[in-house]
């Protein structure tokens, strides 16, 4: 590598490699960016093919190894980054090229480095950057016809689904209730919980002090006092506990009840032939209703009205219904077909009552 004397240049100062590039490729604009390990230059798309070819073939550069091709989504533009290495000279260079969202095309380099073949295919399927001249741009990791580009920022991760959110909230709520009810001592806080509680306390105390217009010294003192009180509470074993409230359901029961409400609502919606949107709304409504009932605390009629039947009890009850229906049908002198129908009807009614 040619090590030239350090010369004054606008920041960031081009490294030896960037200067060599400027010398060998006059007329090409190199935007230089300082990065650890590699020298990084950004070039325009029009110069791209020429620059890459020179990088590969010129004897003073001779970048024979293409390490990595990465796409990056900068919201208005898509960027492709090529990390290059020269075994002969030990040069390390990162070349970046940008293309607009509406026109995501970059010339391929797979004819220069065979390694680019798969790397470009992957970048194409993940970012939608089309590498012009690439021999085979089938998707590599995802299925064909995916319809979206997974790694673009416009494709976020799926949200936590409604029922998951609710389930998690239910567990949290149940935990709190279990801790405060039943007269048992609340479970000891974990280290993380303590730290979180402390941080919250400190923030509250600080905000309050600032709102009251205290001096910084007084503010500090107020925060300290709040923490001291918390520590004292913690030692006496009161922190984490709250006012005792009735805990109608264990957390598992609550979650089960919720799951049941959701399933029921969904099935009902599907039976009614609702659209997906409407179904979601319907389920949400049912859940809301359930939650309201729970909050009201009035021993909700729907959630846990009667003691759940055990499986055996249920089977016995069913058998009873069947026997009764059959006897009734026979008493009425029904045909075998009608009898079957009649029994089925009775069973259906029973099941509906159970679910309701």
């Amino acid at each position: 590598m040619t090590q030239e004397a350090v010369q004054e240049a606008p920041p960031p100062e081009p490294g030896p490699l960037a200067r060599l590039l400027q010398e060998l490729l006059p007329g090409v604009g190199f935007a230089i960016r300082e990065t650890p390990l590699d020298e990084t230059v950004t070039i325009s798309r029009d110069d791209f093919s020429r620059v890459m070819e020179t990088l590969k073939t010129h004897e003073r550069l001779h970048f024979d190894f293409l390490r990595c091709v990465s796409g990056v989504d900068y919201l208005t533009e898509l960027e492709t980054v090529y990390h290059l290495y020269s075994f002969e000279h030990g040069h390390k260079l990162a070349v970046k090229v940008r293309c607009p969202y509406e026109d995501p095309h970059v010339p391929t380099v797979s004819h220069l480095w065979t390694a680019a073949n798969w790397l470009e295919r992957e970048t194409q399927e993940m970012y939608g950057i089309v590498f012009d001249g690439h021999p085979d741009l089938r998707p590599l990791l995802t299925e064909e016809g995916l319809g979206y580009y997974p790694l673009r920022k416009s494709h976020p991760l799926a949200d936590i689904e409604e029922w998951q959110e609710d389930y998690l909230a239910a567990i949290d709520e149940a935990k709190r209730q279990a801790a405060s009810a039943g007269g048992e001592a609340p479970p000891p806080m974990s280290k993380v919980e303590i730290a979180q509680a402390k941080a919250k306390l400190m923030k509250e105390a600080r905000d309050k002090a600032r709102a009251d217009g205290l001096s910084p010294e007084d503010e500090k003192a107020a925060v300290r006092a709040a923490i001291d009180k918390f520590n004292a509470d913690l030692e006496s074993g009161q922190a984490g506990g709250g006012a005792a409230a009735p805990a109608p359901m264990s957390k598992v029961e609550l979650a089960q009840a919720k799951a049941k409400v959701i399933t029921k609502a969904r099935n009902e919606a599907r039976a009614k032939g609702m659209s997906t949107e409407d179904e979601k709304k319907f389920v949400a409504e049912a859940l809301k209703k359930f939650s309201a009932e729970q909050a009201a605390g009035g021993a909700p009629a729907a959630a846990a009205p009667k003691k759940e039947m055990s499986k055996v009890e249920l089977a016995q009850a069913k058998a009873k219904v069947i026997t009764k229906a059959r006897n009734e049908a026979r008493a009425k002198g029904m045909s075998t077909e009608d009898e079957k129908k009649f029994v089925a009807e009775a069973l259906k009614k029973f099941s509906a009552e159970q679910a309701g």
Binding site: T35, P36, L37, D38, T40, D64, F65, L66, R67, C68, S70, G71, V72, D73, V81, H83, F87, G90, K92, A94, W113, T114, A115, N117, W118, L119, M126, P139, L140, L141, T142, E143, P150, L151, L157
Partner: protein
């Protein structure tokens, strides 16, 4: 004596048709959920179309929604045979961007664990590969016996058998147990004697010699152009190892050699891995001798790790070759872009070029010699 009348294959009057053979994705010889469609002319392979992606879990997307420390666990799950190597790569990348300097003790422990992990991975390779070649059982069992010692050792330190999640930017999650030195020496003893056994079973083995010598020769120029790294590149005779070429961590303090091959064939790739294990033992011994005391976490670490604006492509020498992580930081606690360059991915892309013209049964050996980890290929 009557002569049997038959037509010689390849005679102009005989019409032949190329047949497609599907291998995988559920096939023990593909080392995971990997599928390839082979086109064969008789026994000769004329085309290979590798099909990957069965294990794609969005290992680049998920970390973009995670705190930097949460990402470490995802790296365990890329190359699940070289977890410490991958963790080291990511952790060093974050350290490069933030300027955090890991403590001396943690650097030594990292090197010890990483090199032991390299041995563990190569043992897996030797075991699985010998099964590919046709030596059933013995060497597989021997390799896995020794692997178990290392795995137990790692479990004592990290509490996990596979997904260690132990390195942190600035140091380690917690210190190693007090008996670390003794246990490490014990493990090294097992490995040393185990390596002798394995060498005796592999190096001069008639099956290995007959099936691997001269198979799938690759020139250095081709290897570089195809993007091969690691043992596959060194087998062609090029002395290139990132630990020496671009010393990261504290590798410049240790003495070790880079084993290279001559022919670039499958046999060389196997022998190089055997040699590399010995070199790793050397490094571990030196690191163990120089292991200092002191803290295992750098001072002044914040609860929330924010990485300033900037980008880095960090690479380390994994057991399979160059494992790289490209991170773009934007001053938040989550990476803006998180790209993983799997060594297996790039090495596997050369499978087609390496296999064409070989016999069907040899393609399995060539695939085995690449030593792919599908989780790293698909990410």
């Amino acid at each position: 004596m009557a002569t049997t009348d038959y037509t010689i294959p390849g005679e102009p009057d005989l019409e032949t048709v190329d047949i497609n053979i599907n291998v995988g994705p559920q096939h023990p010889a593909t080392h995971g959920v990997f599928r390839m469609v082979l086109t064969v002319d008789g026994e000769l392979v004329t085309d290979v179309d590798p099909v990957i992606g069965y294990m794609h879990r969005g290992n680049e997307k998920l970390p973009e929604n995670c705190d930097y420390r949460q990402v470490i666990g995802y790296h365990d799950r890329t190359d699940y045979l070289a977890q410490f190597n991958t963790e080291q790569c990511f952790v060093e990348a974050v350290e490069k961007l933030t300027g955090i300097k890991p403590t001396e003790r943690s650097e030594y422990i990292r090197v010890i664990l990483v090199e032991l992990n390299r041995i563990m991975s190569h043992l897996m390779f030797i075991g699985a590969f010998s099964t590919d070649v046709g030596i059933f059982g013995t060497s597989f069992m021997y390799a896995f016996r020794d692997r178990e010692y290392v795995q137990d050792f790692f479990e004592e330190i990290t509490g996990e058998r596979m997904m260690y999640n132990y390195f942190r930017p600035g140091g380690l999650a917690w210190d190693v147990p007090d008996n670390f030195r003794e246990r490490c020496k014990q493990v090294l003893g097992h490995i040393n004697s185990g390596l002798k056994d394995l060498e005796g079973m592999i190096v001069d083995n008639e099956i290995v010699l007959a099936r691997c010598r001269g198979l799938s020769r690759v020139s250095t120029k081709d290897a570089i152009n195809w993007g091969l790294t690691g043992p596959l590149l060194r087998a062609t005779g090029l002395e290139y190892d990132l630990r020496k070429a671009e010393p990261y961590s504290i590798y410049d303090r240790f003495e070790f050699e880079i084993p290279t091959g001559k022919d670039g064939d499958v046999y060389d790739r196997v022998i190089i891995r055997l040699e590399e294990m010995k070199q790793s033992v050397r490094i571990v011994e030196q690191a163990l001798a120089g292991l200092p005391g002191g803290p295992i976490m750098a001072e002044g670490m914040k609860r929330t790790l924010r990485v300033p604006e900037g980008e880095v492509y960090m690479r380390v020498e994994g057991p399979r070759g160059e494992y790289g992580v490209y991170i773009v930081g934007t001053g938040t606690d989550k990476p803006y872009r998180h790209k993983v360059r799997g060594a297996s991915f790039c090495n596997l892309s050369a499978l087609r070029a390496m296999s064409i013209g070989n016999y069907l049964s040899d393609v399995i050996i060539i695939l085995g010699s690449i030593d792919i980890v599908l989780c790293e290929v698909d990410r």
